[in-house]
Symmetry: C2
Subunit: 500 residues, 2 copies
Amino acid sequence: MEQHSNILKYKHLGIYTQNENVVYMREDCHVCVSEGFEALTRIRISNLDISIVASLNIINSDILLPNEIGLSDAAEKKLNLSHNETLYVSHLEPIESLSHVRAKIYNQKLDYNAYSEIITDIVEGDYSNIHLSAFITACAGGRMDIEEISNLTKAMIVSGKQMDWRKEIVVDKHCIGGLPGNRTTPIVVAIVTAYGLTMPKTSSRAITSPAGTADTMEVLTNVALSIEEIKEVVKKEGGCLVWGGTAQLSPADDVLIKIEKALDIDSEGQLIASVLSKKAAAGSTHVLIDIPVGETAKVRSTEMAEQLKGHMETVGKAVGLEVKVIITDGTQPVGNGIGPTLEAIDILKVLKNESDAPNDLAERALLLAGELLELSGKVKSGMGNQIARQILESGKAYEKFIAICKAQGRFTLPVLAPYKIKIKAEKSGVLERIDNRKIAKLAKLSGAPQSKSAGILLNVHLKDIIEKNQLLYTIYAESKGELDYALEYKNSHDDIITII
Amino acid sequence: MEQHSNILKYKHLGIYTQNENVVYMREDCHVCVSEGFEALTRIRISNLDISIVASLNIINSDILLPNEIGLSDAAEKKLNLSHNETLYVSHLEPIESLSHVRAKIYNQKLDYNAYSEIITDIVEGDYSNIHLSAFITACAGGRMDIEEISNLTKAMIVSGKQMDWRKEIVVDKHCIGGLPGNRTTPIVVAIVTAYGLTMPKTSSRAITSPAGTADTMEVLTNVALSIEEIKEVVKKEGGCLVWGGTAQLSPADDVLIKIEKALDIDSEGQLIASVLSKKAAAGSTHVLIDIPVGETAKVRSTEMAEQLKGHMETVGKAVGLEVKVIITDGTQPVGNGIGPTLEAIDILKVLKNESDAPNDLAERALLLAGELLELSGKVKSGMGNQIARQILESGKAYEKFIAICKAQGRFTLPVLAPYKIKIKAEKSGVLERIDNRKIAKLAKLSGAPQSKSAGILLNVHLKDIIEKNQLLYTIYAESKGELDYALEYKNSHDDIITII
């Protein structure tokens, strides 16, 4: 039997497909011909060290030679390739865990082992977007019970790195479907670490919003720290405010969340597993979950929020977390600024107890900090808010915040964007509604979060009595073009802020 | 407000992604920067005439210049592009029908309008593979009732071209999950058109099997006819045996079937809608469905087959088709040859009533032809098989078959492949089992259907008494390499044919 030489030379094509592993080969390449590969065939690609699975795209132009092979950036990175390296291509053995996905499609209940095998293969990159979408869909629509959600969460926790702070109590917080401007996290971390609790906060960058906590904190300090650096900051200050991307916690979640975004669904099971697996993998023991409810928030009714609360607390217990869920007002943005720099300015005002600090942001942060103090068991029930307030008003929270920023490498004052336009009321009346989604969209069109100082500065709140020509908000941008672009959107949408 | 100039120059990259529309733009392209496009963003691409939706892949190499744009072959074809043409790129308006997909994910029942909007957008190419997979999954697992399957089928019928033969009765047949070698269709068409019925048969090429009816017929005649040519052949001979690919019947089905293949599922609803929409769009009025049942056939139990039969007949009625389903033996291949040429040889032997014609193939074809004659109402119940047999034995079916081939442009005699190897029994005993899937795989590895004369010629059947060294089958190939490749598979799988 002669040996088949499925060997090709690697050429960098630089095609970025997000997570998906795609392999490019010529139609007339000897491997495609002899193996009978066709477009979308899933193929195993190996170098001497590593092997991955990728979906085939067939090339019929000269961007590749017949003896060359290309890969998407995601796949190139996983194989750690250099130009001209030799790759070996082979048929894919069946992905065994897909039989569990098919079982789930056919309404069967999966056990821990099944979820574990699925999550392991997802982290390996063995699933195509078609497989991922089928898994997400099969698990949505209430087709997972609490036991399954717990098993999925456990499988996700162990799929990546797990942090261990060698502390009995490690607190964390999470907000489900953040409201624009609702940047309580830095204030909460400052208060509870000033009290003496351990709160190693890893946050995400914006995925669909005008700012994530990591984007906002990056205005003030460094957030892209290595795990070793994070450990040092936490050892010194009891907490941190860093970007979670380097930590590789619950990596399957990062893959699944992009598919959910493409489908624009948020299945309860995936949501709970996503949030709690990240928290458990980050080494938290006590987690406060904030669910803002409002018609333009992610959770639209108290009923849905109550159900989510019950399920989250049950799953939390099953995976060994002390979880408390609070339901808050999600009818309007919190704070004045929307966008990294504008939110950073709000945070500093609150921490410095300045007279023009946004009161709603301060009170929301105090509520959460108080709940966290009580959840930890270190503060008596009913006393949390008061103690949090004392820490904030005494300046200790501000001191701690600056200390954390400096421990992370720098503290920088925020600077406003050079271009702005003031939007004024076209009539008098009562402010009836602020559309969270549209005001967020406006902030994004102005350039946030890529342009850190872009965004919206709100001057009004729900139920305010508005005079004609009163300032409603200011749009900030880093370029004239972006300012115009946001303004164009504002002019074609008269329901961003509704006055009646 | 200044005009944003989202204009790029088209460059042919020749990337074949199967159906999916993919657009390639440089990371530093002015449109990506100003619009905030990122990988996997769904974008609208237009030239002066047409507009399509595509998923973005970001390029960071010099296969594109910053002012250039590339497209996958599927997208290029839809826009009918030439090099250097100017394309306009814009944000995608929301795809409204995705709200129906989300409703289905959340277990809601969809009505005709919802299915119609979904299918229209799928045919337009507006759905990414992620959306298609979610739709397929949400519809699987028994989550569609008969009314929904009927509505999906109706929506698929009108989504493409519909043929009208201006005949009261137009018959057709379909086999669910074909068995290797089971090439009854050409014989059935010859018999029933010789009787005088209209049977304009469009068939597919192989998707996963070693031969489709179109591949086999192509050995004997032309099958890639235009719709006008098909109409002429049918007008002249009452029937045809052509490839259905040019007819654009139920085009959504072609898209969905590839996603189902990638997921390796066959949901009942999609299967019924797929088969019946193609038949109705092809202008059939009376359709015979053959479901072979066997442990290595597509349908594995009589129970499943009976349920499918009931649902198919009900949906058939709902969409205005007279459907009859028969359940047949699917425990072994039918006929001797597996592969286009070898099957064509079997067909000619049966039609010419040769003494070494495969009897199982002849009897299966007579069963189906007889049922079709009765289903049409032109032949009394119980008389179909006998009349079909008279037509076959009289030579009229052969005459008609040759006439159809000639009307399609040629009749060519099949020629065997140059390389072959005889596989003999390693022991004596009774032939207990033939694995349909593995014998099909063996035929594919020998080169079928791309190499038309490659494949397997079986000499034995279930329950045969086998002597040691008796010839079991011959592998045919067009090259030494392919023959070796098939042999390698045979040598590592001792359960292709089981003798005990």
